[in-house]
């Protein structure tokens, strides 16, 4: 596992190096300063790393894999920048968000520009480009749908678990799906096999997001880089909030209404642990990680060892 972690660190470094080499003009500064700032941020790069691991298993040209992975990372950055405006999040990966550091207009434009850059990089892929473009943009539309559902669900205390799972499937699953499928699509892999890559990515995405919900409560703010418990404070849905509200409506209501601002997070955390909600959510995340594993098992013509190790890595991450 140490060796694998070194591989991951190596890929992350290479991705960061390549991100730094994307030619970003100096002017207009109003557009390109925030874009440069965003690209230099310290994201975990899990999505481009996944692209590289799938590409390695297919022995694909490393330059092409790098370009696909950069497109996906830039697409991810674009959605984060716009989501942060909508969600009024002022911190991301330990640094100020663009709309907080500059203003909303700069953040709207920077998001647009980064998304366009992702498409320009993708237009260099020399083969099966229509299919790649189509998948890339359909996934982006799904991510927009996921963000729209997220907005619709805000402060709506009728949201059910299935609705939340549908939302994170679109917001997170769709992006991990194309991180898994674009390499094989480029490689001309049969459509019947692509569905396993797709399902692998989607299940991994849902496991990843549920794990993220857990970390928001159990990890500390410095490691996560976001405002701890910000989702709670903003009336955002998380799996644990939904479980608490639906299984223990009165007790949950008491906690929300009677906790003052400083107690709220620790009271929620205590409640989630005592009522077994944390454990149930952990088990649900585990079931998605296992579903990702089951899908991998159906892909027999490549060496999937590193992809299995990647699942382990995401499942065990603590920040």
């Amino acid at each position: 596992m140490i060796e694998f972690q070194e591989l991951i660190n190596f890929i992350r470094k290479e991705v960061n190096k390549s991100l730094g080499k994307i030619p970003i003009p100096k002017t207009p500064a109003y557009l390109y300063d925030p874009i440069r700032y965003s690209i230099k941020g310290s994201g975990k790069r899990f999505r481009p790393i996944l692209v590289h691991l799938v590409g390695r298993a297919h022995n694909l040209d490393p330059n092409i894999i790098m370009n696909i992975s950069l497109s996906i990372e830039l697409l991810h950055n674009f959605t984060l920048i716009h989501d942060d405006i909508m969600d009024k999040d002022t911190m991301r990966h330990g640094q100020k968000t663009i709309h907080a550091k500059w203003d909303k207009s700069a953040a709207i434009l920077a998001g647009d520009g980064i998304f366009v850059l992702s498409q320009i990089i993708l237009s260099s892929i020399p083969k099966n480009s229509n299919e790649i473009f189509s998948h890339f943009n359909k996934a982006t539309l799904e991510i927009c749908e996921g963000q729209a559902l997220d907005k619709e669900f805000e402060n709506n205390n009728k949201i059910k678990e299935e609705q939340y799972l549908d939302m994170i499937d679109k917001k997170t699953g769709a992006l991990l799906s194309i991180s898994s499928t674009l390499g094989p699509i480029y490689n001309g892999v049969d459509h019947n096999l692509i569905k396993y890559y797709n399902n692998f990515g989607r299940s991994l995405g849902k496991g990843f997001q549920l794990h993220d919900d857990l970390l928001e409560i159990t990890s500390n703010q410095k490691k996560m880089g976001k405002t701890l418990g910000s989702d709670l404070a903003e009336g955002k849905q998380t799996m644990m909030v939904i479980k608490a509200r639906n299984s223990f409506p009165n007790e949950w209501n008491d906690i929300i209404e009677k906790s003052n601002e400083t107690e709220l997070i620790s009271n929620c955390k205590k409640f989630f642990i005592e009522k077994g909600i944390l454990e149930k959510t952990r088990l649900l995340a585990e079931s998605y990680f296992n579903d990702a594993r089951d899908n991998l098992k159906n892909i027999k013509n490549i060496n999937t060892d590193e992809l299995f190790k990647f699942i382990d890595l995401l499942e065990k991450r603590t920040f």
Copy 2:
């Protein structure tokens, strides 16, 4: 000319029909209601019309031309939606802008979604798709640059004419350029000829924008659909403001400082006429329309009659 106007009306109707047929899901309503509202708006459709005229001259497959034209119109809509948020414009084409009718988050997301739809439609083009994608997205990046310059120029009274022309070349010229070039690129036209289509589109775009600046002052609000003089009030640059400021600094300063809100527009208008600024701007627009004509003359292997008539149409429009 009446016959040509009928052709334009016919193409506009067909474009609107095809826009109406783009499959827009019902849910999430937060994403798709504003998108549907925007697509049904009464835009003039000059850009898709230009795509069709160039495509007709090349005898291209009408379905492919339609798809290219829809992509460009959706790209245009996307930039308008985001620009309207940044510029705080509440009316567009005689109807409320999305951020005014819904909210900023809905408008950010609707713009994103429409832009993604434009790329999905473009990914159906069966030939030369990498080059088409590359041109399409590079033009979009230029449009973002143009909007960034527009923001940088706001309330900056040092902006010169050349800077303004550079800004409108990016904001308007780049889009009319791809409206002219994508059909020929699809058709495999030689790169040496593509530059004439590009220059034609860019000059047409600058002429169009200068003419628009003039209409904002000379036309009436109902016809234009925007708040008359909104650019003036918002501290936006227009060619006439720049000419007034640079040639008559003291007199112009007096008008801006001493006019009350209700007089401002009529005082500016009077000043632009008396000082010959309106006429000079009209002549500059004319020179760009003529430059567009000169570039067309270099394209000899197709019948450019309808494109010449299209220049006349834009030059003579009154709203």
